[in-house]
Symmetry: D2
Subunit: 436 residues, 4 copies
């Protein structure tokens, strides 16, 4: 095959500040797990960057290093934690409130967790009506809020001696709203900030402030933040990577495992009914139809992206796809998803599949936060800007870098992630064909 050129990538020296807007269940679980991994208490299970091997060359060559030994990632020991939150006083309190982790897993790291105190948040209840913010910046104008966030980042970087920062949105889902004219260009957006435009949500202000501070921004919620034309423009102008959107956990993770399999085997799908029960803050927020709307759009698209009804109208052109989320306090943070899938095969005969997933959302999301932080930082050092489509592996509603829609199939996404790393490091992509 053709020779490959190695990408120039700046080394991962110095400290990396990982900032999370939102320091609730997901962020505190992420922080606790990284601390535990640093102290050798538990392996960072679920983190591809830390745990996965990557095959290089042919199988016979038997080269199969850990990803973290193959590409120059920041070391877990070099991570400094920070963020913003309208409610939690520190990461330990956030973890206790969330109830994801048991007391015995928090006791030994409580001092360090208590020391991680979020900065006051940019928050507006109009976008998350079920929450009440108490640790909120008392700044009325949105331009001024952006300036304050930029100052927060500069101060955090200096006080903690960080070489670089990266942001991963771990906050709640905002109410759904179509993009408007204010989101068209950087110029219109900046005018909107000054005008305190109603269409600008808090997550957009965080994203703008990050990109203006040369800080990569990954979007873990279904908010449209990183999809907005102004943000894509700014990320390219400023040379900062962005990625979105919505951590791929729970039921949608399961969908992106199963749907590619049905398609691989050319089995038709007639219906897919998904219902969730969950009892945490996320469940409360999504019980509000406006916030659920954002989530629903993000969740419904995933099947079409994988199954390509336009190519396979007989198999996938007539799917009743229903998604429901129910606030059900007895479940606590342990979300449960029940799927009923109606498929059909040879001669049109129907079959049914029921999947009951007794899942833990924050446990599944935490390693995604880590991987997105490390890979976004890597991309930044590798000179990338704009949408990092190769990270769609981690995201429910992946953004495309170009005009062709992003892949939704988890296995193609995985291949894309690994082959991108191989290419950057000057290795041949793996094709699994006879010759490779």
């Amino acid at each position: 095959m053709a020779a490959m050129t190695v990408r120039q990538i700046a080394p991962a020296t110095g400290k990396l500040g990982v900032l999370t807007p939102g320091m609730g269940a997901v962020a505190s679980t992420f922080i606790a797990g990284v601390i535990a991994a640093r102290e050798g208490i538990s392996a960072p299970i679920g983190s591809v960057s830390q745990m996965a091997h990557i095959r290089l060359g042919t199988k016979e060559e038997n080269r199969n290093p850990l990803i973290k030994e193959f590409v120059p990632l920041a070391d877990l020991g070099d991570i400094v934690f920070g963020g913003w939150d309208p409610i939690s006083p520190n990461a330990m309190e956030a973890a206790k409130t969330a109830g994801v982790l048991e007391g015995k897993d928090l006791d030994s790291i409580s001092a360090e967790m208590e020391g991680i105190v979020p900065m006051e948040a940019v928050f507006d209840q109009r976008w998350v009506s079920r929450l009440e913010g108490v640790r909120v910046k008392d700044i009325p104008n949105k331009w001024d809020q952006a300036e304050a966030l930029i100052a927060d980042m500069a101060r955090f970087k200096e006080e903690n001696g960080c070489d670089r920062l990266v942001i991963v949105w771990c906050g709640s889902t905002e109410a759904y709203q179509e993009p408007s004219a204010v989101h068209d260009t950087v110029a219109s957006f900046e005018q909107g900030l000054r005008d305190n435009d109603d269409n600008i949500s808090p997550s957009q202000i965080y994203c703008y402030a990050a990109l203006q501070s040369d800080v990569p921004y990954a979007n873990g919620a279904p908010n449209l933040t990183t999809d907005l034309p102004c943000m894509i423009e700014l990320s390219k102008t400023n040379g900062v990577p962005i990625a979105g959107k919505d951590f791929k956990t729970g039921q949608t993770l399961m969908k992106t495992l199963l749907a590619p399999g049905f398609k691989a085997r050319m089995l038709g799908v007639r219906g897919w009914f998904s219902t969730n029960i969950l009892g945490n803050r996320d469940g409360e927020v999504l019980d509000d139809p406006e916030n659920f709307k954002s989530k629903e759009v993000s969740k419904l698209g995933v099947l079409d992206g994988i199954l390509q009804p336009e190519v396979y109208p007989d198999l996938y052109g007539n799917i009743d796809h229903v998604v429901r989320i129910n606030y059900y306090p007895p479940r606590g943070d342990n979300k449960e998803g029940w799927d009923n899938i109606d498929i059909f095969g040879w001669l049109g005969y129907p079959m049914q599949i029921k999947v009951d997933f007794l899942c833990r959302d924050s446990i599944l999301a935490a390693p995604i936060v880590l991987d997105l932080a490390l890979f976004m930082d890597l991309a930044h050092r590798a000179g990338e800007s704009g949408v990092q489509e190769w990270l769609s592996f981690y995201l429910k509603a992946p953004q495309a870098a170009g005009d062709v829609p992003a892949e939704a199939d988890l296995f193609i996404q995985q291949t894309k992630l690994k082959n991108t790393l191989r290419e950057w490091m000057g290795e041949q992509p793996v094709t699994h064909s006879e010759a490779g």
Copy 2:
């Protein structure tokens, strides 16, 4: 990238005889569906060779033909059906007994189905104690049985004006038995046939006869037939493709969808409990512990093949994997599989997944029979011999062509299948990386 060379493939002219040892539920469903597809009654759902598209070049090129229009496969209209069975008088009776297809789906094709009369079988109740053969060759010596099968094939080819033949084993699972010295070489096997060696099972005689008749042989059961050194040797000497083993349907299909997903996301697996209930002839046969043993070995291996416990001991080194099959008459041919999967993630927290698959085994197996027949014939015309590892996509316990174990991950298998076809036709493999 480097230029690719197109493989020389003989054209698919003339008729193709598809012979199935075993004309029960699977074979009769396969036949009925192909007839229905020929007559435009139903699309051949589940058949990758007939329904799937294959992307060529980059996404932007927008080249996406059907596989059957990309590679020179035999046309459905050119297939002639035949086989051997110890019980069924014809394909229509087999279909009625099996109860897979409803009366309304059989009525319009009953005449053609009745005309498909299996030849008398080589059968030995020692290997399938729960069945009683009535349409069995009255030939005591195994060498003579092989000769009779060779004669059957020659006669079938001539009487039906076939250009080529292919065999897909659709018979029952034979009792488990380790290979013995008689299976070491072609010479020792032929001596064993003459000596009526107890270690030689009927399926082995079919396979030997096929390879001596230049007929490719695919193995749809967990029998060790095509794994035997003598058969691999013979397939290479005679230049005939073989493939095995065990149609990938039902619960194992589901496993090969889910397990790669857990591994992709580096989620640990602590246990996997699988139970099946089924009420058909297959269920009766597998209720016998000796026959179940063959199946169990085939089913248990699949997880290790995918999860690589030797590479990931912390995640996959301690899995309690239990597989049970239960004869339960109320279910009829509609097998049901229930899986409980215990996984763990970040900080070792456990999660559970329950999958209830109300499945139809023969409906899932029938398109595999078609695809294996067409692709084995293609491989033959393309000059292949020995194990066709690129067809492991269809098989529960895939055989490797070389020393490295075959891939068990359905999605890598799919990539392998498609990239093999691309290479044969002189197209670049698809890598899904930025560059491809």
Copy 3:
């Protein structure tokens, strides 16, 4: 024990007309099954009146007749079918549209089914917005509508030579509405009819017309019809039995099996999440939040009725009970219910139960229609009037005859039904104690 007095019951001579307002899935399935039972094609499975035995005296006496041989019920051969429907032209078309029964089960009885033509309905889309009536009485005033129904019944009785009539409501669920002043007394209701009062729904007009025609009325939907003070008054004044409400099928049937068991064993309940998917006319109607409201009220009450949170606040005082109904066309008439139940036991330890019920609503409802018709007719001949609480066995939200709430526990309801019949016939109630 004390001697019992036998009740005077008029004999079941002559024909019994069973009229159903609503001739859709449930009514057509009921009719088809009774015809099949009459012709010996199938036993009336699910019908307690036809299939169940009743133990008399002590076990040692070994007296265990069929209920239908113990009490003087109308014979299946004496039933004449009729009804009203805004859509179906006849029972055969209704059955075909419903898709509950397969063609092969309808073919042999199609002539008889086609001959059962519903009368034009009293219908108002305001109460069932998802349906469009086409076979509707063109009578604007509600008093006149009631008169027309009374005339319908008189004519039906005469034309068919019926000795007696009984009505079982098999129509759709009407939009939820609290009772208003017009429902207080018979006088106010009659004035409302004349005034075309908006608060009077079609089902109320049917019920009024029935009671004025000396025809017992059973209410198979969650409509508040038979609960209204005016109807209870009229049923007593006129000496006609009424019963309500809502056929106990599907998920609620399951609830009334399971909840009494938890209570019997003093296991606590922390939450009960119930979701339904169904694709028939009922599903479409209930997809409208106004109609679902009626259903939800009927479904939610059942747990409290059984578990008595006022008596057991520690066990049942804090239950999150959620009920959802989803229109999901792939399921057709085969409703599926999935329940998650969170219980707790010794030392407060939690346990979970998941129940997936692949159910057929009309198949479960049809024998209830039969039993209610026959038992209401029996009660009428036995001189009963007012609410027939002993029939609460069949009903989701049973009405009480007096001030004490009706029992919701299926097993107490069963005891009540059987002991009521025993008492009417002069037999001792069964107590299952040492002495009895």
Copy 4:
């Protein structure tokens, strides 16, 4: 109704020793929960004797006391714990090994738990091959073993100042064996003890010793102990109550909830497939086919007892009933049961029910131990001897007191239990009929 006579019952004064042969998961959970209840830490959830109310007279009378305030039961504060075990050094160690209760629930009661030291067991690995006893009486002859147990009880009673003793078997399931001639009479059994007869198992020696010591004996395992003619004879001769057999928990509990419901509604049952996965000592023991045999016999009978196929051959005469138990370590003590039930209704149409019960066996069994202990002691004081059929509510395979088989229907069993108590106390039985 007729006047009732009050039974003479001796008062529950003084201490009650509750002895459990077997001090493993069930017994230690029972002990921990009673201690916690005494100290007000947790209510004794699941205990009918402690938590349930009982209605007296008509509903209108509104008399509804707690059972424990209605009948003279021993007070929880008066219970003294003891037992025998071949492995556990004390109740605390047993609880830790079992892993049923979390550390936080054991910490505050650990001192008391550690003080409960089982006596050395009569144990024979021939009957429980998967266990190795270490704290075992070194007495070879069975007669001498019985004498030693009798001495143990006398000493325990005296040392602890007990007024009365009661035994509840909480040990493992013994290997299945049909009764033999040695079990025919007390005389033959005593001769067998002297002869060290192979057919006499340890549980039989415990039972014999109890009955000779005037100590009631309840059998929580499927061992045939209390069914043996010699034991029934001895219990009557000596005036001591016995009860058996097999605590009704988990899947069988679920069966006795559901099956009565199907029968109440006259729904047919075509098949019932039950599988269990569990990872505790019980699971290990039952993985041995000989021990499973005892369990299987006990579990399979329950459906016939409820459904009466002899009375309802069309509905229940052809049931495929399969029960499987699987040792699956990831589940630990948290047994999980999955049931598939195939039912049929009107016109024979099939429906399916799947029940997944994430259960905790010891949590369900512990309150049964308490109730059996208290009610057996009550029965003893009430002058009862022989089989206590009214306690069949708690038992999987209930023994009948006379020739008529015992009721298996949980709801009839509940009625029987409560009406028995009502009768003993001179109250009318409740019939739920119009009159009562």
